[in-house]
């Protein structure tokens, strides 16, 4: 530990307070009134699928398709998950199967 006890605690508290403030903001701003603005309802309805798309790309943001192995492990991983899911419709199988395939790719095939 390079920092003191209180410095460390302060860092954790600052991150905790800001993170909670962001997560609680919509409930503070729009709750209880019963009149959520239409635009907010619209965004609340349309953001989930959009954010899911964003999070997928976010997870893959550091993949380089210009250098070897050209994002192949990730591509194979994504196709495995999607393929398994379209085929069996079993969340656990898709996630576990895809992750194991990806781990084999990065640890053995493209290592």
């Amino acid at each position: 530990m390079t920092l003191s006890f209180s410095e460390s605690i302060m860092i954790i508290l600052v991150i905790a307070v800001i993170t909670f403030a962001l997560r609680a903001a919509p409930f503070v701003l729009f709750s209880g009134t019963g009149t959520t603005p239409k635009l907010i309802t619209y965004l609340g309805n349309t953001l989930p699928p959009a954010v899911m798309g964003m999070l997928i790309i976010y997870c893959l943001r550091n993949v380089s398709i210009l250098d070897a192995p050209f994002g192949l492990p990730e591509l194979i991983g994504v196709i495995s998950v999607a393929g398994l899911h379209l085929w069996r419709k079993n969340n656990l199988l898709s996630i576990l199967g895809g992750t194991v395939i990806y781990m084999v790719m990065v640890q053995f095939v493209f290592a």
Partner: protein, 238 residues
């Protein structure tokens, strides 16, 4: 509550896998920075933010001011400000527990709550609360294990964090099938790719969030006609 936890558990298994692996990785890193399992436990308990906690490990090596840390947290986690919007109506009458669920709205919990409905015989509010509680317990447990295990982990966990990507893909596909319009999903993908090309991978979240919201507003009319159907349907579900 016990029943609700039992009912919620199967839905949370994907998050269990993801959180255990990422939590363990966080615990390992934090331990390397000189912070033992009590610190890992405390941080995962009060902060509870996956990506942010990873970034935060670097703060503990010193040299970064609290204001800088505050700004960084704001930037990394600003996307969370949108998450609660999807649940305003659902959690409006849940009482004080609402604040715990708000606190617990991580990417994964948000995704999961977006995609599941409580079984008919289970109290809806207890069910959502159970999902949130279970998910955080995995995260806390994972980070403590990682911290304790240190270098004792004998198998190579490289690539295990792909479980999180896989979870998002699975939810993306499920939403793609059930959502009345594919436009928002496509906006999410294309705007983020665009942001990645423009801003690069280090500052991805804010530009893509701005582009996504802007795009959604721009073609609000086209999407809205299709969306009204879904919100009406959602209202009918008790």
């Amino acid at each position: 509550m016990k029943q609700a936890i039992k009912a919620a558990f199967p839905f949370t298994i994907p998050v269990l896998l993801g959180y255990l692996s990422i939590g363990i990785a966080f615990g390992l890193l934090f331990e390397n920075a000189g912070y033992n399992f009590i610190w890992a436990f405390f941080m995962s308990l009060v902060v509870y933010a996956g990506a942010m906690q990873f970034i935060a490990v670097s703060f503990f090596y010193g040299g970064i001011g609290l204001i800088q840390i505050a700004v960084m947290t704001l930037l990394v986690n600003i996307r969370h400000i949108f998450y609660g919007l999807s649940f305003l109506d659902r959690f409006n009458d849940i009482g004080k527990k609402k604040w715990y669920i708000a606190f617990a709205l991580t990417d994964e919990t948000y995704s999961l709550l977006c995609s599941i409905k409580a079984p008919e015989d289970i109290d809806e509010k207890k069910f959502y609360l159970s999902v949130a509680l279970l998910n955080q317990s995995y995260w806390v447990f994972g980070s403590v294990i990682g911290s304790l295990a240190g270098s004792m982990i004998t198998f190579d966990t490289t690539g295990m964090d792909f479980a999180m990507t896989a979870l998002f893909i699975v939810i993306f596909i499920d939403q793609w099938k059930t959502y009345p319009s594919h436009i928002p999903a496509l906006i999410g993908l294309s705007c983020t790719i665009l942001a990645l090309l423009i801003a690069g991978s280090d500052n991805l979240v804010i530009p893509s969030m701005i582009l996504i919201v802007a795009a959604l507003m721009l073609i609000k009319k086209q999407i809205e006609t299709k969306i009204t159907d879904i919100s009406e349907k959602e209202d009918k579900i008790p």
